[in-house]
Structures are given as C-alpha cells and as structure tokens.
C-alpha cells in the first residue's frame, strides 16, 4: 500500500486536494447552516490581517505625505514655511476630524432616532476582491454579543446589506447590489409591496424592484423602503428610489423597476449593525 502510494504520490495528492474543496464548497454552500469552523478560522485570520494592514497603511501614507511636504520646505525659508505647513496640516487634520466627527455624529443620531433598534457601530476593513460578489468585510466594535448571520447593516442614508457570515468581531456583509441579495420592500406612502433583488452590476450600484403585475405603476422618484416582512430587515429603512419608471420590464410574473440604491458602498467607512429589536413589542433576535 505504502509502495503504491509512494509510486503514485502525485496523482494521489491531486485527487485528494481536488475532492476536499468540493466537500468544503458543499458545506459552505448550504446557506441555511451557521458559519462552519473552517470558515470561522479563515475569516478570523484574514479579517485580522486586513484590519492590521489597513490601519498600518493609513499611518504610513500619512507619514509619507508629511515627509514629502517637509523635503520641499527646505528649498526656501525653512522655518517659516515649515510653520505654515504645520498650521496647514493642523487645519486639514481638524477638518478631517470634523468630517469624521460629523459622520459619527450622524450615526449616533440614527442610533438615537431608531431607539426601537439595537444598533452597534462597525468599521469597514475590506471590500470585495472578486468581480462576482458585492460583499464587504466589517470589524464590529461590539460591547456585547458578537454579530451574527442575517443581521441588517445600515447607515443614516439607508440600508447597506445583511451579515452573511460572522466570527468574533468580524462579519462579511452581502451588499444590496449582490445578485444573491433579496430584501422585502414597499413603496413609501403607497403600500405597494415587492422584492428588491441585487443587480450584481460592478459599475453601478443598482438593484431591481420586483412587484406584482396587479399593482399600480410607480411614479418617477418613488422611494423604496424595507417592509419588514422578511423579518431580517426592520421596517421603514430607506433602500433607494426609482429613477426611470418608464424603463420597467416584464420579469416572469412580475414587473421590474431599476432602483438607485440610497447608500453608495464605495465611500463607506462606518456603519451600524442591527443586532435586533430593542422594543419588547417587536419580535427580537434573528429569523
């Protein structure tokens, strides 16, 4: 047996290493199951490294910018120009902090305004590295229970997506633009119910809103919000708007509208994860 293995080592290893990933894919593909141990290990290591490297890169780029600026100053009046540069840098830093504070304050405002939701802040540490998915990775600053699959992710501007996989403080978030994304929605003020389906388009942050053919036609600028019927996304969070209702099309038994999403994920830094409903009158926990 050992002789045979020694003689056929290459094909044996190839077959083994081609069959094992098929099993991993099968287990990982069962979306109803919780995050598996190999997924948790992979996410923890990669998420930690992405967080550390991202933080270090921010520091290095800041230091490099300062250094280049200082080299230029020596050509003329060193003291005065350095002073000027320092003040300018301080002003820019103050401005940057003001913008950051404004963003955080807005998140805080949302936390205050939606007291029915148990919200926890999170920072985006990585974005998709494949053209096929619209999924980002978050580092959640959780003081209580860690994030779990099927929790909603929001900003003040609207809905971002849902957690599809989580381990420790790291969570993978499927954005609304992903082709696999489904959100139960309604048209604000009209009560027209439908399903928001991700377009997957890598160049535009769009989704498709599918409504029954029996529903009345939507008008330009119709605002789409979550209906809460999927028991994943809380009701009333803005998702996007319909820019061109005249370009609607037939999709099986549905009428389909293009929707421009409210949140552009390209500029996202800080988000809020909905851990559940805070009000005892509303259903809590994950579906």
């Amino acid at each position: 047996m050992m002789d045979w293995l020694a003689r056929h080592r290459f094909p044996a290893v190839v077959i083994t290493l081609l069959i094992l990933p098929l099993g991993l894919m099968y287990v990982s593909g069962r979306r109803d199951s919780s995050t598996t141990l190999p997924e948790r290990v992979a996410m923890s290591v990669a998420g930690w490294l992405q967080g550390v490297v991202g933080g270090a890169l921010g520091g290095v780029s800041g230091a490099a910018t300062d250094y280049v600026a200082l080299v230029g100053l020596h050509e003329e009046n060193v003291r005065l120009r350095a002073e000027n540069e320092r003040l300018m840098a301080e002003a820019l830093e103050a401005k940057r902090l003001a913008v950051e504070n404004q963003g955080l304050r807005r998140l805080m405002e949302m936390r205050q305004s939606r007291r029915d939701l148990d919200l926890v802040p999170a920072t985006v540490v990585a974005r998709e590295l494949t053209p096929f998915f619209r999924v980002g990775r978050l580092s959640v600053e959780s003081d209580g229970a860690p994030p779990q699959a099927d929790q909603a992710v929001v900003t003040l501007a609207g809905l971002v997506g849902r957690v599809v996989r989580a381990t420790g403080a790291t969570a993978d978030v499927m954005l609304l633009g992903d082709t696999r994304s489904r959100v139960a929605c309604e048209v604000l003020g009209r009560g027209v119910l439908g399903m928001m389906v991700g377009s997957g388009n890598p160049d535009a942050y769009l989704a498709r809103f599918q409504v029954s053919q029996t529903e009345p036609l939507l008008e330009k600028g119709a605002v789409i919000v979550t209906s809460g019927h999927d028991r994943v996304f809380p009701r009333g969070i803005e998702v996007g708007y319909v820019p061109r209702p005249e370009e609607r099309r037939q999709a099986g038994p549905f009428v389909e509208y293009d929707v421009v999403l409210a949140v552009n994920p390209a500029s996202l830094q800080d988000v809020l994860v909905v851990r559940g409903m805070a009000s005892p009158m509303r259903p809590s926990g994950n579906p």
């Binding site: 080592r9 290493l17 081609l18 096929f132 993978d172 696999r180 997957g200």
Partner: protein, 171 residues
Amino acid sequence: MRSALLLVVLALLMALQSPIFGLLGVRASLLDLPLIATLYLAGTSRALRGFVASAIVGLVADAFTPGGLLGMNTEIHGILFLLALGLAARFPLTRPVPLVLVTAVSSSLKTLLFYLFSILFDRAFEPRVEVLLWGLPTCLVTAVLAPLLFLPFAGIDRLVQGRRPSETMLR
C-alpha cells in the same frame, strides 16, 4: 520555506490590495493576485510541491474573498495549476508575451469555473450570462500586468535560493 514565503507575501499583498486600491479610487477586484501566484508556481516549481502550494494559494484567496464559498478558489487554483503546468512545458512563463497569453486564458477559465461551481454549490447563485462578462476587466488588467506582478514572487526566489526565474522576463 520558499512556498511558505510566497504564501505570506501573497497574503500581505491581498491584505494591502483593498486599502491601496481604495486610496487610488480603483476597484480592488480588477487584479487577481492569487492567479498570478499560481501561474508563478506553475512556471517555477516542481509539480507536486507547486500543486500543494497552489491549493493553499486558493485557500488564502477564499479567506480574503468575503462572500465566496470556502473551497471554491482552492479547487479552481488546483485545476488552474495543472493547466498552467501543461502550458508552461510549451510556453516559457518567464517571458512576457506567453505569460500575458497564459494569464488571459487562465483568467477566462477561472471565470467559467466560478460560474460552474456557483451553479453546482451556491444555492443563492443566480445563473445569468452577464456574470461571465464581469470577469472580463479583471482578466484584461491581470493579463497585461502579469509580467510586473511576477516580480515580487521572483524577488522571493532571489532572496531564498539565489535563483533568477524572471531574468529573461522583460527582454
């Protein structure tokens, strides 16, 4: 030792990819670094060691790809290594033109394999033909930049073994 260093460098590059491309305002998914690592291994390693290293390259790619199925890149990179190994016997991957062509072919095959495995294993996957087109920009950018992207890995060989697999690359 060499393979371990290659994997560490790949993991670091992948961790850097998202924030650096974010600073530049470019989509990070335009560059397929794991594919380059696999082709480099196919062009410079022995079959068994290279295959195992390529499978681990795929595992690293799975870990750094939020939202994907764990094991998909492992499988794909194992298959791509075998393909590239066959191509490397006919076309020297240390020369720019063959490398660009082999990268383009491998990247296209990677997209097809992704589509196939997603249909087979990902219950939530919606099979639409346009998905295949989304891989096209990545295929083109990665193929054109492949000779440059080989350099970090060639640097490791120079460091560890004193080998110069890329010395003919930019002729």
